[in-house]
């Protein structure tokens, strides 16, 4: 039988850790793991074992991304020129806004969502965390794409050619964001 001082209210104090010997803390509930979680972990483990993407393949992926971006930019520019004769000039700021949204999704959002830009995905490459093999988070993606690549550019492009000199084939923006580019399959 519990002494009076150990009433229901007192038990709450005990649960918060205030108390002496015999403090009761409910066991932490583990998140229920599913087969899909196990498979995802196995996939991340596999990515760590995959070989580094060769420089030529990374360059080809970058070139392909440039082509996609140019095609879309060119198409929207021609469309807006065609439509300006019909619609008024408020179309221009809307076009700039849509362009920014598009570049955000293409260059940054695809990294945490799919593991790479469309060019990289088509050539069988993935951008993963160098230690865990997991996809980058949004913060790491921003660090890699915005700050890392700008720094690589500011070094007169030397940062982009670093994979040719390093054994782990990582560029400057990879080093900054603790990422690496893996070749997960032979090709598309």
């Amino acid at each position: 039988m519990m002494p009076r001082e150990f009433s229901c209210c007192s038990i709450n104090l005990f649960c918060q850790g205030e108390g002496g010997v015999g403090t009761y803390l409910p066991a932490k509930r583990r998140p229920k793991r599913s087969v899909s979680d196990a498979l995802r972990e196995a996939e991340e483990d596999h990515f760590l074992d995959c070989p580094q993407a060769p420089f030529l393949q990374r360059a080809a992926a970058f070139f392909l991304d440039c082509i996609f971006l140019f095609l879309i930019w060119s198409a929207t520019r021609r469309l807006s020129i065609a439509m300006e004769s019909v619609i008024s000039h408020w179309l221009q700021p809307l076009r700039y806004a849509l362009t920014c949204v598009f570049f955000w999704h293409y260059g940054i959002w695809t990294l945490p969502r799919f593991g790479g830009s469309p060019g990289k995905l088509l050539l069988g490459l993935r951008v993963v965390n160098v230690l865990s093999g997991q996809r980058l988070g949004l913060r790491e993606a921003l660090l890699r794409e915005l700050i890392g690549k700008v720094l690589s550019f500011c070094t007169l492009g030397f940062g982009f050619f670093l994979p040719l000199l390093r054994q782990d084939m990582r560029a400057l923006h990879d080093l900054i964001s603790a990422s690496t580019v893996k070749k997960i399959r032979g090709g598309p």
Binding site: R33, S34, V35, S36, D37, A38, L39, E41, A42, E43, D45, H46, D49, L56, Q57, A59, A60, F63, L64, I67, F70, L71, A75, R78, L79, I81, A82, M83, S85, V86, L122, L123, I184, R185, G187, P188
Partner: protein, 424 residues
């Protein structure tokens, strides 16, 4: 389209399109350009003189009958059609004429690509006919839809015919992939992409939108987008009619497969299960890249499991490539689940050559529903047996351990909790 050039459908080497039809077309266009060079040069000189005389750069604005009368006399109209003056002969010849060297060069690249990709399915005379008739239809539709201000603009160029060939190719290769070259040196410069959506977006979507914009009065573009769209549509319609006439089965891709199918005679002893399976397996031996035939075979076997022999399954699994698993993981995983549920064994040669990432991809699709997860576990165990001494052993050990603990937990939660607490 120039930046991402379609070079061939995704077919094995024996089915790759030959170069000679495309080179013959290139030769035709070059000869036509050389023959018409003097007329084109005199036409350019005439138009420049007209601009000097009228003291305006924009000679097509309707500023009276005078300019129209002079435009009617331009040399190029003798051989090229325009809205105000045309005939059938000039409509046909217009497919081979070009205004300048750049125009010719761009169309030479396009004709080379268009003829080459169509050679996988059609013979040279058919391609030539499609080019001329499709191009003529495209040019005619552009002439009819063009605005009065451009009555004396001659319509020339092979691009309507090129788009007709693209429309034909789009119909024939709709369910398969196309290899694109994006001007990057080395093998990295070629990627296969699905024809149904990417080819449409790359080749014709923008043309359709810009041709609609050309109907707007204030918009003028030097490119005849309407002719491109007209050519594409006529090529696609012609391809549908030709296929209907040929009775081309939808699951056959190349001309070699079609030729075999049209010449094959039914076996002497026809079996309703084994004969169609043998025929489909033979098609796959002719073209191992044909994913539609593989899907058809999977579905056919799915209706008659008890009658399939191990040899037939072995032969089928030789064609279950990593690319097929990547493109159709749901169908492949469903088939493997059915196989394991019926107590059949997966062929060892297939397990041995299937890469680990394909197994993970299949496993994702086999993870549901929960009641069938034991099949996934069996699949991974069978894969592990074949790779017990290889590089994947550590990763497989890791995966098997995780799967067994989760599947045990799901089937017996109290026992699993007890064993977990014991381990702690």
């Amino acid at each position: 389209m120039i930046l991402l050039m379609p070079i061939s459908p995704e077919v094995p080497r024996p089915h790759m399109p030959p170069l000679w039809p495309a080179l013959i077309f290139v030769l035709f266009l070059c000869i036509a350009y050389l023959e018409s060079f003097s007329i084109i040069t005199s036409d350019t000189t005439y138009i420049e003189s007209l601009r000097v005389v009228t003291q305006t750069d924009d000679i097509y604005t309707p500023s009276g009958k005078t300019i129209g009368t002079y435009l009617k006399l331009r040399p190029l109209i003798k051989i090229a059609p325009c809205r105000g003056d045309w005939n059938i002969a000039r409509l046909l010849i217009a497919n081979f004429l070009h205004g300048n060297l750049l125009h010719l060069l761009l169309n030479l690249i396009g004709i080379f690509a268009g003829v080459r990709i169509c050679s996988t399915f059609l013979s040279f005379p058919t391609i030539f006919m499609l080019f001329v008739l499709g191009g003529t239809f495209g040019i005619s539709s552009s002439m009819l839809a063009s605005l009065p201000v451009s009555e004396f603009v001659p319509h020339i160029g092979a691009s309507a015919g090129i788009f007709a060939l693209m429309g034909t190719y789009y119909v024939y290769n709709f369910n398969y992939r196309t290899r694109y070259f994006f001007w990057f040196p080395s093998q990295q410069g070629i990627i296969p992409l699905k024809t149904s959506w990417f080819f449409f977006v790359d080749v014709i979507l923008l043309e359709m939108i810009l041709s609609a914009a050309q109907l707007s009065p204030g918009y003028f573009d030097g490119v005849d987008h309407m002719a491109h769209v007209g050519g594409f549509v006529s090529g696609a319609v012609a391809a549908l009619l030709i296929r209907k006439f040929q009775r081309w089965p939808p699951y056959l891709q190349t001309r070699l497969e079609y030729t075999y199918w049209s010449n094959v005679s039914p076996p002497k002893e026809y079996d309703r299960v084994h004969s169609p399976i043998a025929l489909l397996l033979h098609f796959l031996e002719i073209n191992p890249y044909n994913d539609l035939t593989k899907l058809k075979l999977l579905r056919l076997i799915g209706t008659c499991w008890d009658e399939i022999s191990d040899q037939e399954l072995d032969r089928l699994f030789t064609f279950m490539s990593p690319t097929f698993i990547r493109l159709y993981p749901a169908d492949a995983s469903h088939f493997i689940k059915e196989l394991l549920a019926r107590g059949r064994v997966l062929p060892h040669h297939w397990l041995a050559r299937t890469p680990y990432d394909s197994v993970i991809r299949l496993a994702h699709f086999m993870a549901n529903p929960q009641e069938e997860q034991h099949l996934l576990y069996r699949f991974v165990l069978e894969y592990r047996k074949v790779h017990s001494a290889g590089d994947a052993d550590r990763k497989l050990e890791f995966l098997v351990r995780k799967l067994s603990s989760i599947i045990d937990q799901q089937s017996n939660p109290s026992e699993a909790l007890a064993s977990e607490q014991k381990q702690r």
